[in-house]
C-alpha cells in the first residue's frame, strides 16, 4: 500500500472549466467554415493525463492490471485500447504518458499506487498542464511538415508511433493513433501559440476547427 497523499484535482460538482484553448477561441475565434477543408483541427479538452516513471517491469504489471494495456517497451511506441480512448506512450526509458477520458485519471492513479505498492515509481497528474489537439484531413501532413523537423513520412511514422519533438520552435508530443489522425499533446502555456501557428500554417489548404 502506498503512503502517498493523493489529491483529486477535479473538483466535485460541475464548476465552469476552461480548456487551455478557451482564450484563443474567445479572442481568435474559429475560421469560417470551409466547403472542402484540407485540414480539420479539434481540441480534445479535459482528458486525464498521467506521467508514470519507474522501472518498465513493475509498471507493466501495474498497467496490465488496472488499464488492461501492456506498457510499450519499445522507444517511441504508442498503445491504445480498442476504443482508442485510453493510451500509453513511451516518452523515455523510464517514463510513459497515460491519457484516459477526463475524470478517470484520479481513480486510475489510486489503483496504480495500490498495484505498485512500495515499488520505486512516481505518478504525476499533468491533466491541467497540457491538452490534446487532433489534426485530420488530406493536408494534415503538409501542415506538420512545415512545423516540425521530424520525418513524418508514413514509412518513418507508422500508426502506433509517438515522439516528443520540436514543433514550431515549441515542443510537442506528436502521435499517430490512426491512419488519418495526428495527435499533438501541447503545453497549456503554448496552446494559444500552437493554435495560431496551426491556423496560419493550414490556411492555404482551408482549415476548419471543430468545437
Amino acid at each position: 500500500m502506498s503512503d502517498v497523499r493523493e489529491f483529486n484535482t477535479r473538483p466535485a460538482g460541475s464548476p465552469g472549466a476552461e480548456s487551455p484553448l478557451a482564450w484563443s477561441f474567445q479572442r481568435q475565434g474559429t475560421p469560417p467554415r470551409e466547403a472542402k477543408p484540407g485540414v480539420t483541427l479539434r481540441e480534445k479538452a479535459f482528458l486525464g493525463h498521467l506521467v508514470l516513471r519507474g522501472g518498465a517491469i513493475v509498471l507493466d504489471e501495474a498497467v496490465r492490471e488496472t488499464l488492461g494495456l501492456a506498457l510499450p517497451a519499445r522507444p517511441n511506441a504508442l498503445v491504445q485500447d480498442a476504443s482508442g480512448e485510453r493510451s500509453i506512450q513511451w516518452l523515455a526509458p523510464d517514463e510513459w504518458l497515460v491519457i484516459v477520458p477526463g475524470g478517470e485519471e484520479f481513480a486510475l492513479e489510486s489503483q496504480l499506487r495500490q498495484a505498485l505498492g512500495q515499488a520505486h515509481f512516481s505518478i504525476v497528474n499533468v491533466s491541467g498542464g497540457q491538452t490534446v489537439l487532433t489534426l485530420r484531413g488530406e493536408n494534415a501532413r503538409e501542415v506538420l511538415m512545415k512545423s516540425t523537423p521530424y520525418d513524418i513520412h508514413p514509412q518513418a511514422f507508422p500508426v502506433g508511433k509517438g515522439v516528443s519533438t520540436v514543433f514550431a520552435k515549441a515542443t510537442v508530443v506528436l502521435r499517430r493513433p490512426a491512419e488519418d489522425t495526428w495527435e499533438l499533446v501541447i503545453r497549456r502555456s503554448f496552446a494559444d501559440y500552437c493554435y495560431r501557428w496551426l491556423l496560419d500554417a493550414a490556411a492555404e489548404y482551408g482549415v476548419i476547427v471543430e468545437r
Partner: protein, 134 residues
C-alpha cells in the same frame, strides 16, 4: 543540420533537439577532503580541448531528456559514435582507424594546455598521455 543518433530513442533526430554539455567521463575525486588543490582544480576547471577525437556529454533535451555520450571529431565535426551513460566508447583517439586520421590530429589528451593539468579519466587518456606531455 546534423542528425544525431539518440541511444535511448534508438533513432536519428535533428540537432535542434539536443544540447551539448561539455566533456564526458569526468570523474570526481573520490575523497575531495583529501585530494590536492591541484587535483581539485583540475576536476573543477580544466577541460580537454583536443584537435581530434573528443568524448562529450549531450542531452536529448526535447526528446527523451536523457543524457548520453557522443564521440566527435573536432576537426571534421564528424560524429563517430553515440553511447549511453555508464558505457565506454569503442572509438578513441588511440584506435581511430588510420584512414580517418588526419595529419596533425592529436590524441584526446593532447589538448592539455596547462602545466599540471591531468586527464580526469585515466582510463581514456592514459595511453596517449606520456606522448602528449613531452
Amino acid at each position: 543540420m546534423f542528425h544525431i543518433y539518440c541511444p535511448y530513442c534508438e533513432e536519428h533526430r535533428e540537432e535542434e533537439e539536443f544540447h551539448p554539455k561539455g566533456q564526458a567521463h569526468i570523474q570526481r575525486p573520490e575523497d575531495p577532503e583529501a585530494c590536492s588543490d591541484e587535483a581539485w582544480g583540475d576536476y573543477l576547471f580544466f577541460r580537454d580541448n583536443p584537435r581530434g577525437v573528443h568524448h562529450e556529454l549531450w542531452v536529448h533535451a526535447v526528446g527523451c531528456r536523457k543524457f548520453f555520450n557522443i564521440t566527435r571529431h573536432t576537426v571534421s565535426y564528424e560524429i563517430l559514435e553515440t553511447y549511453k551513460m555508464g558505457e565506454q566508447p569503442t572509438i578513441t583517439a588511440q584506435n581511430l582507424p588510420g584512414k580517418d586520421k588526419q595529419s596533425g590530429v592529436q590524441a584526446a589528451s593532447g589538448g592539455w594546455q596547462t602545466v599540471g593539468a591531468r586527464p580526469e579519466s585515466e582510463a581514456l587518456n592514459d595511453a596517449s598521455n606520456q606522448g602528449a606531455r613531452v
